[in-house]
Amino acid sequence: MGDLSRWHSLTQSFQNFVDYYRGTNISYAAITVSTILFGVNGFFSPVWIRFFLGGGAVTIFSLSVIYKYWEGKPFGVSVDTTPSHLVDGNRQPDKMGERRDIALIQNGEVLLHGNVLLSRFSDQFVLNIDSSEDINAELRAIPRSEHDYNPRTNVLKCDNVTEYEFPITIEVFPNRSVAEGGRYFWLEISDGRSSRLLEKFDVINVDP
């Protein structure tokens, strides 16, 4: 699991930003408007109109990118987890569930196991784990000794990062019976600094 190279960190952060940007409404609006302006730009010959339209297109697009970057940063954190269950005493991943962002609670539990990847340029991180009230999502183990975990607020953080890649295990279990609490819940892992959503699951309790 060696250390990330700086180049890899840059490409990873860039990829995280692109995925984030593409998912926003502003990107849709900005790219549409910019494209229209740029297209209309081709019909005019006076320089000042071309300058205005072309410049407008570039400006609108750039502003949307800058705004979204500023709003969603840092992009150097990514989390990727797989739900898993105990099957005959052996833990198996639920790949189908992972593809659909669904974590099924079977026999009272589901374990989310995965990796957290930090960019080489980060020196700290804050991860928030939030879930619906009738389920508990608890870290099974704190990934590294340099991390701080508050089980009450469910926040994992580190002020002085030296390890840029580590596994994370989150145990999810209901705290009420199906009759009292229902079956449908959610879980979200987000960056504590920007509130940017990193991972999200629909949690469904399929126990009788």
Binding site: T82, Q92, E138, P151
Partner: protein
């Protein structure tokens, strides 16, 4: 041979020792409760000042088909390392229900977590302190795999880096043998030696729970 189950606990406000007052409830009746200090058995023990609350209670295990049975449970709470230990001679259907009834019987806010919240890298070094490794299974993308069978990763690189799903190791202290099993976030200790349990707990506290 009693099995000790370790979990992490948390108290709010003044120390539990000062305010504890466990009342008996519908499913639980307290048999005894004592407060004592700790006698270090290992070198560089960081929690020599902590308070230990030991007690025992009778747990009424509910059953749909029979009238249920009463189970003897010993427990211990260690204020310095925030370790909560449960000891039973028989298997229960759900350790969590036993924990639940205990938390309900304690009036002030006292949470017993499902897991130890131990740092994973410190857990690895605790396991490396053992004299015998019987099995260590790690998680690779949600799949449980023995630690020496991870595809493409040599054993030395697995140690300290991957998440541990379960591990069974043995410690030898003089002529005594202690078996320790870590599984799904909690620890079980099995030993015929009367100090075996305390010895392992202290090593665990020193290696894993003490602040770096």
């Amino acid at each position: 041979m009693a099995v000790s189950n370790l979990r992490r606990a948390d108290t709010v406000g003044p120390s539990l020792a000062e305010r504890i007052e466990i009342s008996s409830g519908a499913q639980l009746s307290i048999q005894s409760l004592i407060f004592e200090g700790v006698e270090p058995l290992v070198e560089d023990y960081p929690f020599s000042d902590q308070q230990i609350i030991r007690g025992s209670f009778l747990y009424d295990e509910p059953s749909e088909y029979t009238s249920g049975r009463e189970i003897d449970v010993d427990f211990e709470y260690r204020s310095g390392s925030q370790l909560f230990i449960l000891e039973l001679d028989t298997d229960v259907r759900s350790l969590d229900s036993v924990v639940q009834s205990l938390t309900e019987a304690i009036p002030q806010e006292f949470i017993i977590y499902r897991n130890l919240h131990a740092p994973e890298d410190a857990l690895w070094s605790f396991l490396e302190h053992a004299d015998r490794i019987l099995e260590i299974d790690i998680l690779d993308e949600g799949q449980e795999v023995p630690y020496d069978e991870v595809e493409g990763v040599p054993r030395e690189e697995v140690i300290g880096n991957f998440a541990i799903e379960k591990a069974e190791v043995g410690f030898n202290v003089e002529e005594h043998s202690i078996m320790v099993r870590y599984q799904g976030g909690d620890l079980q200790i099995n030993s015929d030696w009367e100090y075996g349990r305390e010895y392992i707990i202290q090593i665990f506290e020193r290696e894993v729970l003490a602040d770096a």
